[in-house]
């Protein structure tokens, strides 16, 4: 097996565009293909022929908004950005890029936290933002068919008057697109009961790297043949470009009530979560916040979170009043066994909305007080207390601070490691602490990422979770879709040890 050695190996010190800060760059990208860079003008002209007016961005100044995503410490200016309006145009751009060996980076709203949508100098970014129509809502079949650039929230908004919603609800749902959700197999607070994107996706229209348009699945359950839809979901833009999706709608419950449970220690809260699930109770959501996160979110949302506790659980139950009461009673009894200090039910729809606003703004609110990186490891529930303790120790060892706010019910942790991006050493320490935390998650039987994807961020940790044979098998499947590794090529798989194209 040949090994590709085109790696941008040096640790680049690069000027940050936003604040003139200098950040250590630990993670490499594939070196740009010189042949592609040299043909830049021609490529731009050709793409302009393939796309309608206003659908191609190429002046350097206008490329800047596309140089990164929500993993902002890394940036690369792309060669050009194509913003097609139809599946046919997506196919035409892919066919062209495939023919000339030009890398393509699919992009939705660019809210990826793992660098999944960060481009590279020789790549054409293919943005789906102009494809944002809701094509069909079929209540009798409980499905919506939408273009890939539709935002997550727009789907629920379009069906809510009729009493339905689309279940996976990333905190970024106002901005992120269904195409990006499929790319990352995104989750959200309410996925404990309803599952993540892959469990709510029925079909896609997919453009393969050579421009071939295929349909996977549809309104019928369980598509024929191999479950290609299952591997495309979470494929991080490496297997094809999704232009349309059919998703499952769910009837809104009669009522929903978030309840706050405050504890004196992280251990007690963590153990309470494990016992609730272990007792066979599956609420819609169990979210966890530690003291720093509570302070940050309360200052932002004024949600009435208790301030005198070390750890807070937001538990949402749903159903009729009687059902909610019954489930809550069972949960409260378990929480008592774990010394719960405060139990606070929301008193009105407005209070409930504030509780969720506080939780869903956690990342944004944290960003106002410090720079942060967000980890996303998932652990078996029984390990939650242990990993929370381990996280605190690791972060303390590096002399940093951490705020924990995450989807506790499914063990999906989000430690936000706070640091100062103006201090390159602090930034490097934060990255190192994050890596240690993720390794801890894997070592207790968990995984590197529960919903944010590998992107570039966790790429070089993949060998901690997978053996060479495991990775080789995944890469072989990747190559079955994209033999030349043109789609989002710097992501997910460590750059060393890839099979030759």
């Amino acid at each position: 097996m040949l090994i590709i050695c085109l790696i941008d190996e040096e640790v680049v010190k690069k000027k940050d565009h936003s604040g003139g800060r200098r950040i250590m760059q630990q993670i490499g990208f594939l070196a740009p293909r010189p042949g592609v860079l040299a043909r830049r003008e021609e490529i731009v002209a050709d793409l302009a022929d393939l796309l309608p007016e206003g659908c191609l961005v190429h002046e350097p100044r206008r490329l800047v908004p596309f140089e990164t995503d929500a993993f902002v410490s890394y940036r690369r200016l792309p060669l050009a950005v194509a913003l097609p309006e139809t599946t046919q145009q997506v196919a035409a751009v892919l066919k062209y890029c495939h023919r000339y060996g030009i890398p393509v980076v699919p992009r939705g709203a660019g809210t990826s936290l793992s660098g999944g949508a960060i481009p590279q100098e020789d790549a054409v970014v293919l943005g789906l933002s102009k494809m944002s129509r809701i094509l069909e809502v079929d209540f009798a079949s409980r499905t919506a068919t939408v273009e890939a650039g539709v935002t997550n929230l727009a789907i629920s908004d379009a069906v809510s008057a009729d009493g339905y919603f689309y279940a996976p609800d990333p905190s970024s749902q106002l901005a992120c697109t269904i195409g990006g959700n499929i790319g990352m197999n995104s989750g959200g607070a309410h996925c404990l009961k309803y599952g993540v994107t892959t469990n709510n996706l029925l079909g896609v229209k997919l453009v393969l790297v050579d421009g071939t348009i295929v349909e996977l699945g549809g309104k019928a359950l369980d598509a024929p043949g191999l479950d290609l839809l299952g591997v495309v979901c979470g494929g991080e833009g490496q297997l094809g470009i999704v232009t349309e999706a059919t998703v499952r709608l769910i009837a809104r419950p009669e009522g929903a009530r978030p309840v706050l449970f405050g504890f004196d220690s992280a251990e007690e809260a963590g153990a309470c979560v494990a016992d609730v699930i272990g007792a066979g109770i599956i609420p819609v959501a169990i979210e966890y916040m530690d003291k720093p996160a509570i302070e940050i979110c309360e200052a932002f949302a004024k949600a009435g979170y208790p301030m005198d506790v070390e750890a807070l659980l937001i538990v949402e139950v749903e159903g009729s009043e009687a059902e909610m009461d019954a489930m809550l009673a069972a949960i409260i009894e378990i929480a008592r066994r774990h010394g719960v200090k405060v139990v606070k039910e929301s008193q009105s729809a407005m209070e409930a909305a504030l509780i969720w606003k506080g939780r869903k703004s956690a990342f944004g609110a944290t960003g106002r007080i410090a720079d942060y990186i967000c980890m996303d490891g998932t652990v078996p529930l029984g390990q939650l207390p242990h990993v929370l303790r381990g996280t605190a120790e690791i972060v303390a060892k590096y002399g940093l601070r951490v705020a924990n706010v995450f989807h506790a019910g499914d063990g999906n942790m989000h430690p936000l490691i706070l640091f100062n991006a103006n201090d390159p050493e602090d930034a490097a320490r934060a990255e190192a602490a994050g890596n240690d935390i993720l390794k801890l998650c894997v070592d207790v039987g968990g995984c590197l990422t529960g919903e944010h994807g590998v992107g570039i961020e966790k790429r070089d940790l993949m060998r901690h979770q997978y053996s060479e044979a495991d990775l080789a098998q995944q890469m072989a499947v990747r190559a079955a879709f994209d033999p030349q590794w043109l789609l989002n090529p710097s992501k997910v798989f460590p750059l060393e040890g890839r099979p030759a194209a």
Binding site: D138, G230, C233, G278, A322, V477
Partner: protein, 400 residues
Amino acid sequence: MSLRHEPLSEAAAARLVQAASLGGARLAIRGGGTRSLVQPPEEADILSTRGLAGIVDYTPAEMTMTVRVGTPLSEIVETLAENRQMLSFEPLDLRAALGTSGAPTIGGVFATNASGPRRFVAGAARDSLLGVRFVNGRGEIVKAGGRVMKNVTGLDLVKLLTGSQGSLALLTEVTFRVLPLPETALTVVVSGLDDGLAVAAMATAVSLSVEVSGAAHLPESVRGRFAGGVLPEGAATVFRLEGLAASVTARAEKLEAALARFGAVYRADAETTLTLWREIRDAAPYADGTARPLWRVSVGPTAGHQLVAALRLETGVDAFYDWQGGLVWLRMEADAEAELLRRYVRAVGGGHATLLRARPEVLCAVPVFEPQPEALAALEGRVKAAFDPSGVFVSRMVAE
């Protein structure tokens, strides 16, 4: 005559597959053999998973179980039930319908993505499977996924392997999530609806916040063959509600009120519910001791009855519906009619039809799995080669 191999460990299985791939031999993977109505092609040896059995890990509080693939499904179901847990996707047992014997294995369940009535709300086998170990066609031992509920680390090979019908790799160990057994269940029955009205009633039921966990329509031709004939006269449109007793009763009242405008409404108790939905799951009315062609067709929920109505004009069929009308169990009275059926499936908006039972010569001649369009068939061929480059594993799932 085919040889039969029964490796007793994953390592032995890997050696066997590696030798086969180097020697150009071919292997047909077999679990309980409950779906094997025809023998594999003569040149292929049988690779039995029966020696790879046993529960490896079960942590009820974490709602996950890890088992070797040759473990009988019955052992798993019983162990889970002791802890009041279950497989949420209700794996089918088609032995009676197919006239086969043997014990279904958990590996076979996941390799066929066999999912019953709860599938349309709670997901399929593929949605419960968290992680796998497998031997690919090179004889390499590979793992994918893990044992946590949320995991997007790398490509989701777990999904790809579920339902791959032995075409890609030999699964050796599976980790899946389980759910609590509902405290109780009941069935709301609406009588006398024709297929079209039944679809409307089912759409109404799922639009309410009552969480039906089963919605099926049993036309008059089959109704009497369910639950020992206790369902009221006429077609039966049935809705299952599960959960805590108080909640189930409250939801039943709400559902009954909403369905009263469609027809006469009855309630079936927990015991009848258990039998009824097991029979729906296993296509019990077609366990008729014949080899008349039996199809399992998946279409959009509002398309199933249109498909059957169209077919009726051309050929003799008998049918009932699960999954809110989207899963059609079809028994042809004479010929398999594969082409006709698939043409109509496309005409009603698409889906797929799988032939489960027919005379052996028909099963050999007819594509039992839905043929794929050219571009997808080519892609599937490349995916197959990514797991099994020399074509060790024989299966009719992926076109060769």
